[in-house]
């Protein structure tokens, strides 16, 4: 039998998911990981995006700043797509610097969702 593996230092924390409003534009910044224990937080953040109407200047874009999100699993990507597809016509989600896993899963299963735009800035 093999030996019990020591968890590395980074694994002693419990990676959660935090969501906070963006300053200066409509949307949220998420930080952490999207997985089984954080799907609820992720879903609520996206439901907020669906609920919010256009802002006072008629802006039809909702920004998701994801540069501090390190991982999104397949179910998490599915939640994102479901939210985007519930947006009224003409509105869209802009994902800023999504993690590679999310880009990979979107390309594989949902390559052409008009309401999702990926921005690397």
């Amino acid at each position: 039998m093999g030996t019990q593996h020591e968890t590395r230092s980074g694994a002693t924390r419990a990676p959660g998911l935090t969501v906070s409003p963006l300053a200066g534009r409509r949307g949220v910044r998420a930080a952490g990981e999207v997985g089984l224990s954080t799907h609820g937080t992720w879903r609520r953040a996206l439901e907020q995006a669906v609920r919010e109407g256009p802002d006072s200047e008629g802006e039809d874009v909702y920004h998701l700043e994801l540069s501090a999100v390190t991982f999104v699993d397949v179910a998490g990507a599915g939640v994102l797509v479901a939210a985007a597809e519930r947006l009224p016509d003409g509105r869209r989600l802009v994902l800023h610097r999504p993690p590679p896993a999310l880009r990979r899963v979107l390309e594989m299963f949902w390559p052409d969702v008009p309401a999702i735009e990926v921005s690397m800035s």
């Binding site: 093999g2 694994a11 419990a14 990676p15 224990s37 699993d73 179910a75 590679p100 899963v105 594989m108």
Partner: protein, 326 residues
């Protein structure tokens, strides 16, 4: 299901449905040499083209070249795929090759595919997954108006492989023949069960037990191990995704916990997840996801990105082992 002998017919893969078998047709073509290969495949493609039926050819690259050259300009109307790439993982072939092509065309019109998933270079590690794949095609396409012709290199493949082909295909076209015959040995469920082989734990591989509270750690551990063993870039991302999906499945469907192992062998990084659940759906991970379907893509992703997936499931639990080429 008892296989019914084909009525005499002028061509190898008759479009007429067999009695009791429905519209799906899945003949094995045994060929002894290049000439028999082309005699068995090229007319199949030309008949499809003449009938206006969509046709795809997914065979190993060197034989793809043979068929393409024989078709000449007609090859332009055929979807050509190198099965060594597209079908490297046998578990990827139904969702990623066969149904991907068949589903892209309207139901009702016959779709024809030549699929050669088993060639002489397949390893002993790959073969059980190959045989199960051939068997599961029958369940995956039951009732569909599709013909899938599977060539077998009768000269270079083991007799055991040819015997399995008689069990995974309702009809067989013997070497040198032009006519499909019902296969008395047809028993796809028996093949799926027979190749549900135990995957005994590899000695000396690090062991990481996980539960709902340690899913992120399990993924980090797999990614760290994969990187240390030499995986990079998108392949390392794929290992992390696969680990996340398998370990999450164990927590949600497999008794709440499991054991992860990652090691390297023969130029591959191998990731294994073992849990106490039982996989009851043999087609799990082999159905393409419909666009509107919310969940159920985890095992499909595992099949699409891994170079090989082997599974064992039974009363004592389920083991899924995935290979990533270095």
């Amino acid at each position: 299901m008892s296989a019914v002998a084909e009525p005499p017919s002028g061509h190898r893969a008759p479009a007429a449905p067999r009695q009791d078998a429905g519209p799906f047709d899945h003949p094995a073509l045994f060929y002894g040499d290049e000439r028999e290969y082309l005699d068995g495949t090229v007319p199949f493609v030309r008949e499809a083209l003449a009938a206006g039926e969509p046709v795809a050819v997914a065979v190993p690259g060197e034989r793809l070249t043979l068929i393409r050259d024989a078709l000449g300009a007609d090859a332009d109307g055929v979807r050509l795929l190198d099965m060594r790439e597209a079908g490297r993982n046998p578990g990827r072939i139904i969702p990623g090759v066969l149904r991907a092509f068949a589903d892209a065309h309207p139901a009702g019109r016959r779709v024809r595919i030549i699929g050669e998933p088993i060639w002489a270079g397949r390893t002993g590690t790959e073969y059980p997954a190959c045989a199960q794949h051939e068997a599961l095609i029958n369940a995956a396409f039951r009732g569909r108006t599709v013909t899938i012709l599977c060539p077998y290199d009768a000269r270079r493949l083991d007799e055991r492989v040819l015997a399995d082909a008689r069990a995974t295909h309702p009809t067989v076209i013997p070497s040198g023949s032009r006519r499909a015959q019902g296969s008395a040995a047809y028993d796809p469920d028996g093949v799926v069960a027979r190749y549900n082989e135990p995957l005994p734990p590899v000695p000396d591989a690090p062991v990481f037990p996980f539960d709902a509270g340690s899913l992120p750690q399990a993924r980090h551990l797999a990614a760290d191990a994969g990187a240390a063993l030499g995986l990079t870039g998108v392949r390392l991302e794929d290992l992390a995704l696969v680990t996340a999906e398998l370990t999450t499945n164990s927590v949600v469907h497999g008794a709440g916990s499991g054991v992860l192992r990652v090691w390297s062998e023969d130029g591959f990084v191998v990731c294994e997840v073992r849990d106490g659940g039982r996989l009851t759906d043999p087609l799990a991970g082999r159905r393409p996801a419909s666009r509107d379907q919310r969940g159920g893509r985890g095992l499909l992703l595992v099949n699409l990105v891994s170079d090989l997936v082997r599974m064992h499931t039974g009363r004592d639990g389920t083991t899924v082992r995935c290979w990533f080429a270095l």
